[in-house]
Symmetry: D4
Subunit: 253 residues, 8 copies
Amino acid sequence: MRAASIRELLTAFREGRLTLEEAEGALGGSFDFADLDYGREARQGFPEAIYAAGKTKEETCAILKALVARSEKSILATRVSAETAAFIRGEISEAVYDSRARLLYVERPGELDEEHTVLILTAGTSDIPVAEEARQTARLCGCKVVTHYDCGVAGIHRLFAHLEDIRRASVILVCAGMEGALMSVVGGLAEAPVIGVPTSVGYGVAAGGETALRAMLASCAAGGAVVNIDKGFGAGMLAAKFVRQLRRGGMQR
Amino acid sequence: MRAASIRELLTAFREGRLTLEEAEGALGGSFDFADLDYGREARQGFPEAIYAAGKTKEETCAILKALVARSEKSILATRVSAETAAFIRGEISEAVYDSRARLLYVERPGELDEEHTVLILTAGTSDIPVAEEARQTARLCGCKVVTHYDCGVAGIHRLFAHLEDIRRASVILVCAGMEGALMSVVGGLAEAPVIGVPTSVGYGVAAGGETALRAMLASCAAGGAVVNIDKGFGAGMLAAKFVRQLRRGGMQR
Amino acid sequence: MRAASIRELLTAFREGRLTLEEAEGALGGSFDFADLDYGREARQGFPEAIYAAGKTKEETCAILKALVARSEKSILATRVSAETAAFIRGEISEAVYDSRARLLYVERPGELDEEHTVLILTAGTSDIPVAEEARQTARLCGCKVVTHYDCGVAGIHRLFAHLEDIRRASVILVCAGMEGALMSVVGGLAEAPVIGVPTSVGYGVAAGGETALRAMLASCAAGGAVVNIDKGFGAGMLAAKFVRQLRRGGMQR
Amino acid sequence: MRAASIRELLTAFREGRLTLEEAEGALGGSFDFADLDYGREARQGFPEAIYAAGKTKEETCAILKALVARSEKSILATRVSAETAAFIRGEISEAVYDSRARLLYVERPGELDEEHTVLILTAGTSDIPVAEEARQTARLCGCKVVTHYDCGVAGIHRLFAHLEDIRRASVILVCAGMEGALMSVVGGLAEAPVIGVPTSVGYGVAAGGETALRAMLASCAAGGAVVNIDKGFGAGMLAAKFVRQLRRGGMQR
Amino acid sequence: MRAASIRELLTAFREGRLTLEEAEGALGGSFDFADLDYGREARQGFPEAIYAAGKTKEETCAILKALVARSEKSILATRVSAETAAFIRGEISEAVYDSRARLLYVERPGELDEEHTVLILTAGTSDIPVAEEARQTARLCGCKVVTHYDCGVAGIHRLFAHLEDIRRASVILVCAGMEGALMSVVGGLAEAPVIGVPTSVGYGVAAGGETALRAMLASCAAGGAVVNIDKGFGAGMLAAKFVRQLRRGGMQR
Amino acid sequence: MRAASIRELLTAFREGRLTLEEAEGALGGSFDFADLDYGREARQGFPEAIYAAGKTKEETCAILKALVARSEKSILATRVSAETAAFIRGEISEAVYDSRARLLYVERPGELDEEHTVLILTAGTSDIPVAEEARQTARLCGCKVVTHYDCGVAGIHRLFAHLEDIRRASVILVCAGMEGALMSVVGGLAEAPVIGVPTSVGYGVAAGGETALRAMLASCAAGGAVVNIDKGFGAGMLAAKFVRQLRRGGMQR
Amino acid sequence: MRAASIRELLTAFREGRLTLEEAEGALGGSFDFADLDYGREARQGFPEAIYAAGKTKEETCAILKALVARSEKSILATRVSAETAAFIRGEISEAVYDSRARLLYVERPGELDEEHTVLILTAGTSDIPVAEEARQTARLCGCKVVTHYDCGVAGIHRLFAHLEDIRRASVILVCAGMEGALMSVVGGLAEAPVIGVPTSVGYGVAAGGETALRAMLASCAAGGAVVNIDKGFGAGMLAAKFVRQLRRGGMQR
Amino acid sequence: MRAASIRELLTAFREGRLTLEEAEGALGGSFDFADLDYGREARQGFPEAIYAAGKTKEETCAILKALVARSEKSILATRVSAETAAFIRGEISEAVYDSRARLLYVERPGELDEEHTVLILTAGTSDIPVAEEARQTARLCGCKVVTHYDCGVAGIHRLFAHLEDIRRASVILVCAGMEGALMSVVGGLAEAPVIGVPTSVGYGVAAGGETALRAMLASCAAGGAVVNIDKGFGAGMLAAKFVRQLRRGGMQR
């Protein structure tokens, strides 16, 4: 029942395959969005995602197995500890663990978009794990990703070496901790949308990424937006959503 | 000199129109980005923008006049008080003042993109001024904008009335104060990128938009990002940047 | 002396069993509430509760043993570590440990109210431990509890599947971390009082439940209230207080 | 169309009064909750409410007029300034303004529940405006309200004078600013649910009600919950929701 | 030299025992307060105190040994870990460790003031370690201390049982975490000065003692003051300073 | 009934003037503290105090008049605006207004303690209004007060000029805004208890007195305590409580 | 007496011009620093400064007049309102008011250091008032100041136009609000010490300069330091202190 | 290519060694700052620095080895754990580990400036690790450093013992936790620039250094500035920058 569209449901009702009560119950009781969900899976190739923090290794493994069994898409678990990853890889042989990004994934063949580029920059080397979480997420969504790490504004020539890539990118992710100033500078140079990913790198007033977050939001460069601290996964998904719009020409259908 | 491209500068140098010292000075002293700027102006149709807060009415007016004189683009001043607007309209007859959005602009003919849609939603009626700042900004950048105001989650059927527009939009801006929950719900329904615009609507723990901001950032819906509180202008610019990429097919050239 | 009611004390005084000084001292010095307490115990069937955090396993055990010996009611200890639970279960054979809710309890027979329902919802699976603390507390207070876990607003159809239970509930507890938007949506759908239980689920701006807390408080849905972060026990008690009023018809006697 | 139930809509569709497209559109596009809303209005007698802050006096007046015309219920506007109230009372003769509570209302005859009592306590006299907002809201919802103002814990005998009312109440609202300790004491004395309403009374660390809010939430007394700072309206609604459950016996139907 | 009073120094200078340069150096270079210090030591019997947090066990031990050797007073080290205490007790046989208060001390005979009483109250059992740090500090300063633990306002009769001691006390310390309401109630009952000692007991909004601290400061009861979170030592010292004033009749000499 | 002591009540009961029910009700229902209050008034000479903030000038005046009529004590209203003061002085001829301290008072003859001294220091001239509120409060409570204003640590010789008074004081109040460092230095020099009164003087990170408050609380000088920001009245009361204990020899009776 | 050095005081004592008591009193009671102060005035040419915020116009004027009468130095009052300035200029004819910097000063001839340069940069035009407060302060201290305003990182070529001045400066002040990223970039380019002056420019998360402050402190560029928000005066003084060291060769004498 | 100056590049272009495209690419693409960097290394003798936090021991070691191989300067790694230090010292024999300062360095011969003094003060002994990080950094930059530890304001005579060094210093670093008052006092005594280094020493409201930071920034003493919490390295670098300017006479060349 969950896979039927409203139209199919109404048709079934008119044709007598559903009683008034059944139709009323389905529409009033569960608001079936399954058609949408089904269509999304077939069309998008976006991976299923599991947030592993706060789950036991057994729970995460069980959910992964179920997804592997019922879906043809890639599957992605974020914030996976090394111990959980080892456990799951003992159970699911095709699972791959990226320890820097703390991602565990089962990759399935999908379409790669070669036309558009997601550019990921980091201010320092300590921001790389977050950047890698974004990169892997975007890659598993079928995006081409270019990365330049360690080009913070304290040595601004490191950034200018990548001006050409900044100009060519379809969307840019800037991963930076401490004071996050890289986003302001990139925001002034780029024509593409720039998404800030504050990281929890730094100490004292860096405050676990809070200062980078607020600085990126307060940035005087127009046309940027920001995700939660250390949320590489979310930034990768947003970049992929944007690239999907580019592939579609901006319309869902 | 500022309008010359690096290439033109180098050519002028080789042809002897610039001495070594002049070329060195221009390149080493000012890092001329005018070529880029010039190209941007011709191609983009993005308006020039002035942040009027903290400027006197005379200062804002003088800058506007200068821009009107030297540019063919639309010109936009944000956070303009009624008093400043009255003063400027006495000086610049073609200036238009949108009192709800606190925007003052001089509109010049430009290309309108009819293919892609920027959808702007608000949770309540008090969020409308911020939404209007975003709408006018995107419109002056050549975007087609659709708005649905007052569809907060406390009466969630108001939102579902707009599901079709949510699906069709190229990018969605969600303006909400208080707890900003509308972004979470829209983020779960939309395939397009969703940009949260927290507003300073509410009292007590709403804390001038801080709670909406943090709630939007913490939202469990993947693929969204957030701008500063009440930053309708920035959200409108980001939406326009997205749409420009769609028009270009995602590449600068 | 502490168990005597004011009436008994006054009677003892009139009958000469207490001198004026003794009666004055007892009334002026200790304000005996024991009559009230005694009556409450007999009538309510609410469990005795111990907050185990910050107590050693020996201390918690000793208090539990004393309560088991002198009371016919169920006894409940919250925030009990696995180690403390193991120790106590070695000493008190009828003690049961719920490791997810971190509750340890000795259950005594009591009346179950079958007429009214406490509905507990969670946004995600990580909120379940807090929800279970609420559920067990309400259950040990004699309430019938219905739970639906993992129905957050990112996939809002999951919530609509439970509309009927939302309508039938006497009181609703919404357990959610991150941005806590589930409370706003449920608050708009339900006629029963809705109590928000923010959880410490999430990272970055989720800030250990602080954002969920503030978002729930700022929620535009009228007729809701909120408890401390992760305070499943308190929410369960409040729900049981509501249901007790319903059983009594809203009056204490 | 908006007033039709899902059942009516389905019937109309089967009987040919709606085409497939029309039915699909209505169900998919607007998720009609009007049946529910209609029933609620007839049954509850709850007033319609308008949040006047951030609206002009003309806007607030227009909405009020529309509601007066189409509804038989009482109508309530919160956070109404004296200037707006004067304007509206010039337009709507039956409108009444309560300047302490900043409420403006048009009262219609309704049922008063004489059996259950909402008790409202304040710590000081400065908390009275918030308490009055709660009292009027609950009263317009058909509740019997008892108030005791200025019984803060600094002179705790003032509170004990009202022990009997504390015991008899169906639900208790405690309005307090500064450190909000009254809630903790009442929470230990009452069997009824206790709802804290922190007020913005105080200076320095009182921080506009933030300290009272956090203290009430951290209160060691189990079985209480808290609303936003100064949210008398919300507390009154919650109390009325609970009393409605008592009248109904805890079930919606 | 450091023990000489200014008068002695001047005399020595006049008598030629100090050169001009020596006198200038002593006065200009070190501002000798030793007279004051010397007098204080003889008269007060206040213990020397060491803050052990952030020192290695070897460092703490070495400082203790030096003080034991050169002073006749009691010596007190605060925030001493069990490991450090064990190490020191192996080196200094007369050292005593109070593990609950995390105090290690070498007690020397001193005068006990029997006339005045320091009363220490706690809201719960978890506040006892902080209260014990205060009690031991005041005791080692020669104060008579009375304690009543676990008399928080959630069961206010527990507090009223101690009204007589509240009236008799010379100064009262109230140790409480969570919302710290005990201070407000005691402040309304007592004539003696009341010092609040917020503790880090609680979770969620209790925020490591921050809410208790702010609530105590915002308390509407006049005539109270507050020390840092968990600062039992400081509160004990302040109480002892006040009792010393009482013994002296309020004047230093 | 409210003025009767427990003893009188018990006597009335034994003599048959009260029935068992009446006695029970009085004791259980109202907890009569009037005897205590009456004794306090006669003995202490502390002024009655009114917090005028948030009251209209008519309300404040009415309360003052009632107190003037029924009490022989001085009466004190804090945070009185110039406008309210003018109004009240038109009604109550003996009322005096101290505009710097924003205090309005009716002074009645009382005993002045000449033996003990309250010393009030300020860091700068902007802290004087708060210091004056403290001074007047202590003075009206019968204390001798000495003040030294503008002796902040930036020019530390200004403080050392008052060392003698620091040594002689029975209790010291330190009023300081910005970073409040004066308290730390005085705390190291004084033997008397030192009470910090943070003021809202300063800008930027001074944060309305929050930084001074926290710095005073974190001060490494033992034996100090702190009141709310700008709470001169509370500090004056606390000082007076200290001095009263000194006069009594530390015991209530 | 206050002008005598310790040496002079000791000499006077030995020569019998001071008694033992007088010498003791002077040394113990007032710690005479006047010699130092006197020397400083003669040598430095630094202006006397008055913080006018929180003083009445009459008070500020009286202090200014006294300083004008007794000192040959320039005199400087900060945070002077237009109204106060007008009043003072009516009284002191040589007073000059800089309305942008809100400074009022009486300038006296002094030495100008032409060798060293204080460079002041601002990110935007709204930061200019703070920058001007710094510039005037440094100028009145005898420094040569170079300014470049409106060279924020959103258009980074504006900054690079001033690379030569950045290299030549003795010390650099960077005034910026919003996210303050300019300091990070300048810190990476300059060899001179860089002092950040966060300004209260911006809205929402800019939080009155708090975000710029924290971002500047968290900046990854080593060798910078930060002053309070909007503290142009303090930054100007620090720059002048450093230039004075340069003039002296780094030693006081 | 990266080492060529703009002049060289232009010359190469004119002489035909670079094509137009090559010159354009180099200038537009990479903004060559290598000349500057090269010059800086030769001239300054400042050590290379590595921030080891968040890097594995292998990564830190590899970077160190590379720097040792290619540079003649001293090399410095901050925030190095004991474990990492042991690993690196096994690989690089000339590496020295300072466990208190958590610094690991390879020292190369350099010029020591004997003329100017960096004075480092700490309030307590717990602040010493941060002070040592600053001392070693400044020392490796060729500065002469004088230190006085444990001279906090609670015993202010300890500070006055060092007045002469305070007067002689070229620049002063004040390391203090808790309330950081030492900076205010030193700021009032010193003529040299004073840099505050807040440390994370303390508990409760000390808040990990936040209170010391804010107190230092709010300090009323003009002419000071502050670095991030615990940032001894940054303070040492800033001091060295100051001293370098003194050596150069304030000009870069």
